[in-house]
Amino acid sequence: METFLQHVVNGLILGGTYALLGIGLTLIFGIMNVVNFAHGEFYTLGAYGAFLFLSLLDTNFFVALLGAIALGILLGGACERLLLRPLLGESIETTMLVMIAVWIAMQNAELLAWGGVAQSIDHPFPQAPLILGPISVAPLRLFVFGTAVLLILGAHLLIHRTRLGKAMRATFQDRETAALMGVDIHGIHTLTFAFGSGLAAAAGTLLGPIFVVYPSMGDLAALKAFSVVILGGLGNFAGATLGGLLLGIAEELGAGYVSSGYRDAVGFAIIILVLLLRPSGLFARAERVG
């Protein structure tokens, strides 16, 4: 029972970051109808960004985190502006191919820049775990979870309480009508992609100090983000949040009780099972015939 609780707590902590990843992806998917295969690369970018600010520029840990997130936002915005805007109105396959290309290019650029060796990010938190009854948590992990929750709340407020969020939701509902009502679709797309990429970068900076940082770390992150989105439903914010937490717990339990070799199979299995069992439930926009 104690180990079970410990697994659940570890899962929740991981899950908070998965939720961040998933929210970013689901927003881009829902609002722009773009399958962002480069999502994991923005996660990697976040981790390396933190590493860069800390080790090379010698900044404060928290400043480094903020800097890395800003980097993700800027590069995400640039990516939308340069590569996706000219393709507005093209088929989903076309933008998908471009994002695959961005993924390959970014990952190999990172390999060239940092080499294949894994790096670790130093953090100011004490190593000794906090003992809370039957479970123990490293202070760093507590900080990561807390920040993830804050960011999720922030994103929620942005989408539900601001004018910008309202425009985003209108675009998600019906792009043509939103455009007719004066919503600047181009601007919304750039902001959505920048915001989604920023969330991915945040997830990377948060998990970077817990694990190690290496150029292909984004591949697994992307897989997790996709399974979270599928689990929570296309374009569904709350779904992505819940989905992230669920995936984190499922992975910890799977790794703890089944086999750690198949830990990453949990994500694939979720995608396959959900899509096969409830595909109609996920078709948010069924087409009309006639």
Binding site: A101, I104, A109, P279
Partner: protein, 318 residues
């Protein structure tokens, strides 16, 4: 002109080992041939039915492992292993086709990626069967004939070249017949307009599954050739890089044409080899990414359709 072109090409292809002295170039051509089969097979789905399978390397890998394991564990002659590889990959294609036929667009893509991901993890973790990440070394070379009676072992590069050329040629002509038939028109109809296709009597489910089976079986054949040619199979055959390479070949060459994917296969096998002398693997992959973006932006239809359009316009306005 219409007759001379293909005839000349056939003569060139058939005599390559005679005048290409450097075995390394023959090796590049063999790899190009294997990739041509893969590109043709992916094109059947992506180019004709319009379904983007990003797990295509799964069928390639299944073919490679089937053939290698049958040869190593059961001592089956490689050509029987080849047939088995085609069959097992085709069955896997049937399974994936059957379960995912209700899915389109991004959903289909995600299921195919996940399928390849799961198979990769199995190949890494099922040590008893696959020897895990270490892979299967010493796969015997391809041979024709019956063991004990007569045997023609395909050990030399020229022999392997002719074998791959024969299989790639067969794949090309099978695709040619298929896409120019009523079945191929059914594929195209489903790509263009599924509702209209169904309303003139085209059974969408059946044709999409058929396309998946044929496509997977062809990829399985390529996998078997690869296993017996390189004589080594490891979980790397399932890597996403292979799928991406196939996609680039098809898209750059021209999806929905037959010559396009073959041309793409040659270009994108030769190009990295040419770059290898001057740059590292990472630079190559980075350039791949850039190439793909440039193709989507400037040659969205691919090389072959662009040339065709250009020729047609030139003929129209003399």
């Amino acid at each position: 002109m219409k007759r001379i072109g293909p005839g000349l090409l056939a003569i060139v292809l058939l005599t390559v080992p005679l005048w290409v002295g450097n075995p390394y170039y023959v090796h590049v051509l063999i790899m190009a041939g294997i990739f041509a089969i893969l590109a043709l097979s992916l094109n059947l789905l992506l180019g004709y039915t319009g379904l983007l399978s990003l797990g295509h390397t799964a069928f390639f890998g299944i073919g490679a492992y089937t053939s290698a394991l049958l040869a190593l564990r059961l001592d089956w002659p490689p050509w029987v292993g080849f047939l088995a590889a085609v069959l097992v990959a085709g069955l896997a294609g049937y399974g994936i086709g059957k379960v995912s036929l209700r899915l389109r667009g991004a959903y289909f893509v995600l299921v195919t990626i996940s399928f390849a991901g799961v198979i990769y993890l199995v190949s890494v973790n099922w040590m008893e069967l696959t020897n895990g990440p270490l892979g299967l070394p010493d796969v015997p070379p391809f041979s024709l004939g019956l063991p004990g009676l007569f045997e023609l072992s395909i050990r030399t590069k020229p022999a392997a070249y002719y074998l791959v050329l024969a299989v790639a040629g067969a794949a090309y002509f099978l695709c040619h017949r298929l896409v120019r038939s009523r079945i191929g028109r059914g594929f195209i109809a489903l790509r263009e307009n599924e509702a209209l296709a169904e309303s003139v009597g085209i059974n969408g489910t059946r044709y999409l599954v058929l396309a998946a089976v044929v496509s997977a079986a062809m990829a399985g054949a390529a996998g078997s050739l690869y296993a017996h040619y390189t004589r080594f199979v490891s979980p790397e055959v399932f890597l996403f890089t292979y799928t991406v390479t196939m996609v680039i070949m098809v898209v750059a060459g021209g999806k929905g044409t037959l010559v396009g994917p073959v041309l793409g296969a040659f270009l994108f096998t030769a190009l990295p080899e040419a770059l290898r002398a001057v740059t590292s693997w990472q630079w190559q992959m980075l350039l791949y990414g850039v190439f793909l973006i440039l193709t989507v932006f400037f040659l969205p239809k691919g090389v072959i359709p662009t040339i065709e359009t250009w020729l047609r316009e030139r003929r129209a306005s003399p």
